[in-house]
């Protein structure tokens, strides 16, 4: 895009009162959550918006792009993938240097504006190889995200949404907090879960919002030339840290998946008719049901659910003809949550 065109687009956007922000993340980092929360907050303030979702890879751990458009007239909001964003939000610093054609398209179209990066570095230390002349903000929200979700590493989505709102002031703090509450009430959490998660996330959102408000804007000149190539290894690393493995089910990759679980399967000895239907290799997608024969455990017959890998999908409950396996809230079963 030539600079004449960039100017023309910027002028038209200012006249139409339209703002655009691009969010670059890895699938599983909470990009969609960030969009849900921001959109709900915008709706509370009677603004019009749309979100274009765009992913090049359909696998977990693949790159995901969200383009959020805000304005006063819904008919004047584009849905094309790339235009001329005002804000670029990177869920991780490694999104800058990944040699990915779609990232390139977004970065190349972003020649001025405000760059928001989740990074412990300062903006001057960033390696930004695209032609860019504008402002940059670096805030490390990983720590906030970890307190919010009690996971490590934590998906930074919700914290990034709050950071973006704090930096840009597109929504007020009150609307944002309301939207965070909405987000959790929409998911129908159990009382015990809600009591744990909602205050933690509200607190985290408030902290990230304030961090955004007080963040220092620094002028950044992009290099315009790439002096080094960093390929997908870093991306894979993020993907791996979020999901056990992008290709393999948890039981094969050998990584614990217990944090996914809302429900857990519980076996009842009294109802069981010893039919062996539930035995792992037939139905359980994570092969975590084992049947102990006499001598293998204290009982004559025992169905053991491996809580390290059960994700609470409920297939065993469907399969069991006698109703001996049933799903229970994970937070109400002792030892079912990590």
């Amino acid at each position: 895009m030539d600079s004449e065109m960039v100017k023309a687009i910027t002028k038209a956007k200012a006249r139409l009162g339209m703002t655009e922000a691009v969010f670059l993340s890895v699938a599983g980092q909470g990009g969609t959550t960030a969009m849900h929360v921001l959109c709900n907050a915008l709706r509370r303030e009677d603004k019009f918006f749309n979100v274009t979702v765009y992913s090049r890879g359909t696998m977990r751990g693949g790159p995901v792009y969200h383009v959020l458009r805000m304005g006063s007239n819904p008919l004047m909001l584009p849905k094309s993938q790339i235009t001329q964003p005002d804000y670029m939000v990177l869920f991780d610093e490694s999104k800058i240097t990944v040699d990915d054609p779609a990232s390139e398209d977004f970065m190349a179209s972003f020649q001025s504006g405000l760059l928001i990066v989740n990074s412990p570095k300062s903006p001057q230390e960033l390696y930004y190889p695209w032609a860019f002349s504008g402002e940059a903000i670096c805030v490390n929200v990983n720590e906030i995200a970890e307190t919010m979700s009690r996971m490590r590493p934590a998906p930074p989505g919700l914290a990034i949404a709050a950071l973006f709102a704090g930096v840009t002031q597109v929504v007020s703090s009150a609307s944002l907090e309301q939207a965070v509450e909405d987000y959790f009430s929409h998911h129908g959490l159990h009382v015990a879960q809600a009591a744990r998660l909602v205050p933690a996330n509200l607190n985290g959102a408030r902290r990230a919002y304030e961090a955004g408000q007080s963040a220092k804007r620094v002028h950044l000149e992009g290099l315009g030339v790439r002096t080094k190539t960093v390929r997908h290894e870093k991306l894979d690393e993020i993907g791996d840290s979020i999901f056990p493995d992008s290709e393999l089910p948890p039981y094969q990759s050998g990584k614990n998946s217990s944090m996914w679980r809302d429900y857990v399967s519980v076996w009842s000895d009294a109802n069981c008719i010893r039919c062996d239907c539930c035995y792992s290799w037939l139905y359980c997608p994570d092969q975590c049901i084992d049947i102990k024969r006499p001598g293998q455990s204290g009982k004559a017959y025992d169905v053991v659910v491996d809580l390290g890998y059960c994700k609470g999908c409920g297939v065993c409950e469907e399969v069991c003809p006698a109703g001996a396996l049933s799903l229970r809230r994970a937070d109400l079963v002792a030892g079912a949550l990590p």
């Binding site: 009677d46 819904p74 008919l75 094309s80 790339i82």
Partner: protein, 414 residues
């Protein structure tokens, strides 16, 4: 341009396109939803499942073994007076093709979040609507989530009208609309009940239609001997007459909906941004927002640019297009299908208009490739060049395969 009215009494929710379709069906009190999973359609069924499961809506989900079986069941339910919902796209339509293409006069509504046909990728283009075009479906295309909800209600009303009785497909670009979060105003259930009466099925249909149904039924059941050669053209002629009625009804229903709910989308076409324009871009769906901004930019640069929104894809509203475009110098048809349906439709619609506007066509955004503001602006500039009498590509493809070779190349067959 007028933004859709925010009626005071309507509450807003943040919904995706698919969820808005589900909400439309909920307000229409659809008691039976069929699910056969295929992205980006699945969310429609999921939304309905939630409504049924939580008791917000009375009804049930039915899952059958494939799209062909599902479509047969949808037709059977509709013929027996049950309002249904089934959403599928691309390969789902191809798999259910034998049933979808012989739907005849069955009043069903099929929301189609566009996705390209096959080839292992899931991005949107309009080819799944193009293949439905030639088998007598009413095809409507919408541009945002609010329009998805509003048109669900209107589509049921049109499809079930005694004089129409046709299958309607409601198309919206997959992912770009189906998965875009937007504010959607939810009409009041009481008003919707007043607008959309319960569906009673074939008992109340007029006599002629019963006769058509008997004949179609005879064909369906394989009793070919009862089907004398002469009745087949007659059945199809009646269906085409119904297509014309569907177009007229779309105008009337739009007006009625506007009075009740404060939102009018314009019937078969929306020409509100093309009045007095010399270079008019004609397009549909998710392209429209980008096209309108590009038109604003082109106006800044001195081009009398306009955008015309086509909402009725089949039957193509030829007289309406001819009337709306009679003062234009150049019409740029922007297609997201390799058949260039809008381009050819406009060429025949404007053939007898004097002085004849020049029609140039652009095929862009196939398989979801991005068509950006600068691309659209370039189309307007080409249109302006054509208006000055310069030679431009008649029908061109926008290619973006590599960074080096980006741009419009002429279609080899024109």
């Amino acid at each position: 341009m007028k933004a859709p009215t925010k009626a005071k009494l309507q509450k807003a929710l943040t919904l995706t396109g698919n969820e808005a379709i589900g909400w439309g069906a909920r307000l229409a009190r659809v008691p039976l939803t069929f699910i056969f999973p295929i992205g980006p359609s699945d969310e429609v069924g999921e939304t309905m499942g939630q409504f049924y499961h939580t008791g917000q809506l009375k009804g049930r989900i039915m899952e059958l073994e494939g799209e062909d079986a599902t479509v047969s069941a949808v037709a059977a339910a509709a013929a027996n007076g049950i309002r249904t919902l089934f959403s599928t796209n691309s390969q789902g339509i191809q798999k259910g093709w034998a049933c979808l293409s012989t739907m005849g006069r069955t009043p069903i509504v099929l929301p189609v979040p566009h996705r390209l046909l096959s080839r292992g990728y899931v991005a949107p283009d309009w080819m799944d609507h193009v293949i439905l075009r030639d088998v007598g479906w009413v095809l409507i295309n919408v541009e945002n989530c609010q329009e998805c909800l509003d048109m669900m209600l209107q589509c049921y009303k049109i499809a079930e009208d005694a004089e129409v009785q046709l299958p309607i497909s409601l198309g919206y670009d997959g992912w770009e609309i189906s998965h875009s979060d937007e504010p959607v105003f939810i009409p009041d259930q009481e008003d919707v009940d007043r607008f959309l009466p319960p569906y009673r099925g074939p008992n109340e249909w007029e006599e002629v239609l019963k006769e058509d149904w008997r004949k179609i039924g005879a064909v369906r059941r394989g009793r070919m001997e009862r089907m004398v050669e002469s009745t087949y053209p007659e059945i199809n002629y009646n269906a085409h007459r119904a297509l014309a009625k569907a177009k007229e009804l779309l105008k009337r229903v739009d007006e009625e909906y506007g009075q009740l709910f404060g939102r009018r989308w314009g019937g078969p076409i929306d020409a509100s941004m093309s009045q007095g324009a010399e270079v008019v871009m004609v397009t549909m769906g998710a392209f429209l927002g980008t096209a309108r901004i590009a038109a604003e930019i082109a106006r800044d640069q001195g081009i009398k640019a306009g955008v015309l929104k086509v909402r009725l894809f089949n039957p193509i509203p030829a007289p309406e297009l001819a009337e709306a475009l009679k003062d234009a110098k150049v019409v740029v048809a922007l297609d997201r299908d390799e058949s260039a349906v809008l381009y050819h439709g406009l060429r025949s619609a404007l053939y007898s208009v004097k002085p004849q506007p020049r029609v140039i066509g652009r095929i862009a955004g196939l398989s979801g490739t991005s068509v950006n503001i600068d691309d659209m602006e370039a189309f307007f500039e080409e249109g302006a060049a054509a208006a000055r009498g310069k030679a431009v590509t008649e029908l061109g493809w926008l290619l973006k395969a590599t960074r080096e070779a980006q741009g419009v190349v002429p279609d080899p067959n024109y």
